[in-house]
Symmetry: C3
Subunit: 139 residues, 3 copies
């Protein structure tokens, strides 16, 4: 992974074999980000994604092991216990161009993987919402 921060933007290239969210977190930690918006595209495999079960208050996980085009990663950087936290959702397509998606746990890069984090100085903390079961933005 290599990245370049210039003003409020960080351009990030994640290498083949590396994990997407792990590397985005590494950037956020290195740059001591307090908040930011993330966008990305690329090609990925070995995905673990999920959806939030509202009733049971758990993520239901599923693996996707083929090769996919990463059509859209939308996410953000916030703070949990004063440390950077990465929250991302993705959509991805198979070789027939059918699209799947969900909350991203992580995925491995298989070719290009290009991201931009739009950073901000705001201290965007998360706080556990017991009714929902998730840590939500505490604005």
């Amino acid at each position: 992974m290599n990245y370049k921060k210039i003003e409020d933007k960080i351009f990030i290239s994640i290498d083949k074999g590396e994990l997407v969210n792990q590397k985005l977190l590494e950037v956020a930690e290195n740059e001591q980000l307090n908040s930011g918006w993330i966008n990305g595209l690329g090609a990925i495999s070995n995905l673990e994604i999920g959806y939030w079960d509202i009733e049971k208050k758990v993520y239901v996980k599923q693996k996707f092991n083929n090769d996919y085009e990463l059509l859209s990663l939308v996410g953000n950087v916030s703070l949990v216990d004063n440390k950077p936290f990465i929250h991302t959702h993705i959509s991805f397509s198979d070789t027939k161009h059918n699209v799947f998606g969900g909350h991203l746990f992580d995925a491995i890069v298989i070719a290009a993987a290009e991201f931009c984090i739009f950073t901000s100085e705001y201290n965007l903390h998360r706080k556990l919402n017991c009714g929902i079961g998730l840590s939500l933005w505490n604005i």
Copy 2:
């Protein structure tokens, strides 16, 4: 809904039970935005989406009433009759991670819903294009 404007970015958290587009519009009105780009993710239900029928010049609407992960909201703030107007398209996934999408009329937040508006001072007006039947950006 809570939001924080810092420089050119507005971080917005929309609460469970609130309408996505309605609350984005409220932010745009409160902040008297003239233009902006919107990105977001979350979890939603009770969606009304549609597609533009080119021939008939109407939106054909459809409802989706299950719970979905909001994978990507892409949209913008512009001005119609000098008032803020919200235009958004979404993609969302069901519990099997199949993805659906379209032009968003509105949807209700069921868990987290996190958005960023990238604001600008530009007066981005819309003007009715009679050939297409829609109000398009008048740049």
Copy 3:
């Protein structure tokens, strides 16, 4: 196509009958962009999309000739041989709101098509990666 650059953002409206990537490139060339992040939505037809075949190191292409809502265009501007280059992935929906997507070669606008390029002064060059077969960001 019309566009307006204001500070680090360029708002772009691409007209009915025009090609998306071709016009985004025209903006990048006119403004002599060195780097930028692209986001967009709209309505398109006559798409040529593809996926990267990792083994054969070629794009496998497919055409989609109906009318679709462009749900999300995610992409970027970089430099290849010191000239602006556009890389975009898209997801789009049919009249049943099923979603398809892939790497975008190009597509024709059929109604609204609204884009924002978030520009930067960084010289974001691409360099051929022989192992992958693609020109990747050379950060």
